[in-house]
C-alpha cells in the first residue's frame, strides 16, 4: 500500500467527521487524519490511555515522557484537554460518549462484522481497546485498502479472521469506495476517484447493494 493510497483513504474518512465530535483514532491510516484536519475542523481527539484533547506531535523541546497516545507515541495536549484513568476512559467509550471511532480492519463482512485484532495461525495476544471501541463508539468508520497485500478482498461475505464485534461497522472507506451499513447490510454509496462499479465489484468478496449518492456530480 503506497502512502498516496493511505492518505487518500484518510482524507475521505476525515470528511466524515463533524465539528464538535469526540473522535478516537486507531493505529495506521486513521492516525494520518490529524495531519489533515485544519485547526477549524473542531473535533476533539480522545486517546484511550487517558486523554481527551490530543494535540499535534511535540517538538523536541516539548517532549514529555508522561504524555503519549495509545500507540505509545509522544503527543501534546491542547488547551481544554482532560486527563483521566483507564476505567473512566473506557466508560466514555462503552457508555457511548465517544462519537466516532476510526480504525483499520483486516476484514469487514457485508453485515458489518469487523475482524481487526487477530490473524489465524498468528499470535492472538494483543487486543488492546479494539473490541471496546467498535462496540462502544456511536459511529464506527473503518479505513482499509480494498484488498490485502496478497490481493484477497477485505470486504467479505463472512469474516474468516477472529471477530472483533458483530455488525459494528457503520462506514467503510477504501481507496475506491465508501460503503454504509443500512438495515444490517453494507451498501455502496460512493465511488472515489476514477473507480468504477465493475472494479469495486471485482475487488469485493461478496455481493452488495448500490445506492450512489450524487456526490461525484457535485
Amino acid at each position: 500500500m503506497t502512502d498516496d493510497v493511505k492518505s487518500s483513504i484518510a482524507i475521505r474518512a476525515a470528511q466524515e467527521l463533524r465539528p464538535g465530535e469526540i473522535v478516537n483514532l486507531g493505529i495506521g491510516i486513521p492516525n494520518l487524519i490529524p495531519g489533515l484536519l485544519g485547526d477549524t475542523a473542531g473535533v476533539f481527539l480522545h486517546t484511550e490511555n487517558g486523554l481527551l484533547g490530543v494535540g499535534p506531535r511535540p517538538g523536541e523541546e516539548e517532549l514529555d515522557p508522561d504524555l503519549i497516545d495509545a500507540a505509545k507515541r509522544p503527543v501534546t495536549a491542547l488547551p481544554g484537554a482532560a486527563y483521566f484513568d483507564s476505567a473512566q476512559s473506557f466508560a466514555m467509550i462503552r457508555g457511548g460518549h465517544v462519537d466516532v471511532a476510526v480504525l483499520g480492519a483486516l476484514q469487514v463482512s457485508v453485515a458489518g462484522d469487523i475482524a481487526n485484532w487477530a490473524v489465524p495461525g498468528k499470535d492472538v495476544l494483543g487486543v488492546g481497546g479494539a473490541m471496546d471501541l467498535v462496540v462502544g463508539a456511536r459511529r464506527v468508520i473503518v479505513t482499509m485498502t480494498a484488498t490485502s497485500s496478497s490481493g484477497d478482498p477485505k470486504i467479505v461475505d463472512e469474516c474468516t479472521y477472529p471477530l472483533t464485534a458483530h455488525g459494528a461497522a457503520d462506514v467503510v472507506v477504501t481507496e475506491h469506495a465508501v460503503f454504509r451499513l443500512r438495515d444490517a447490510a453494507l451498501v455502496l454509496t460512493e465511488l472515489l476517484g476514477s473507480a468504477t462499479l465493475e472494479g469495486v465489484r471485482a475487488e469485493t468478496g461478496a455481493p452488495f447493494d448500490v445506492d450512489l449518492e450524487d456526490s461525484r456530480a457535485a
Partner: protein
Amino acid sequence: MTATKSTVQPEEAVAVIRSGDTVMVGGFGLVGAPLTLIDALVEHSDADDLTIVSNNIGEPGRGLGKLLRQGRIKRGISSYFTSNPEAVAAVNAGEIEATLVPQGTFAEAIRAAGAGIAGFLTPVGAGTLLAEGKEELVVDGIPHVLERPIHADVALVYAARADELGNLWYRRTARNFNPLMATAARVTIAEVGEIVRTGELDAESVHTPHLYVDELVLSR
C-alpha cells in the same frame, strides 16, 4: 498507627511479595510504570510463580520484561502482550500462561475488584474468542459477557507525587491503570516521584485517597 505512611526502601517494600502471588503493576507500556519497584522485584526478591496483572508485560529487557527474562512469571493477565515479543514467544513456548482481556474490560474488572463488585455485564467481546468459557447473557436483546473482578495480593503503582499520608497525584497520561490498581490489592505499594508534606497536596487534586495506600517508595 502513625499519621504518616511509612516510606520504605524498594527492596524492603517488595519483600511482601511471595511466590505464587498475584501482582498488579501499573503503567501503559512503560509510561506510569513503577520502574524502581520492578527493578527491586527483579534484583532483591526470590518470589516466583507470579501472576502478573498489567496492561503489557513490559518491553524486551525493560520494566516487566526483566522479570519475564528471569522466568518468574507463571501467568500474565493483560490486554496487549504483543508489545513485548519475548512475552509472546514465552506464551507460544508454553513457558507462561496468557489471559487476554479487552482493555476496557481489564480496567473495569480491576475497578470492580476495588469497589466490591462481584461481576459486571459488558457487550464487549460477546460472540468472540475472548468470551469463550465465559457466561453470556442477553440483556435488552443485546448479548453481554459476564466478567468477574480481577483482584491481586499486591499492587505496585506509580504516581508523580504523594503527601506523607499517602494521598497520590498522577501526572498526565502516566495515570492510566494506577488509580484502579491501587484499590484492588490487599497491599498497595506506591512508588512516587516526590513526597510533599501533608497538606501541600490540594485536597481537590488528590486522585487516590491515602486509605488505599500502604507504603510509599521514592523513585530512583
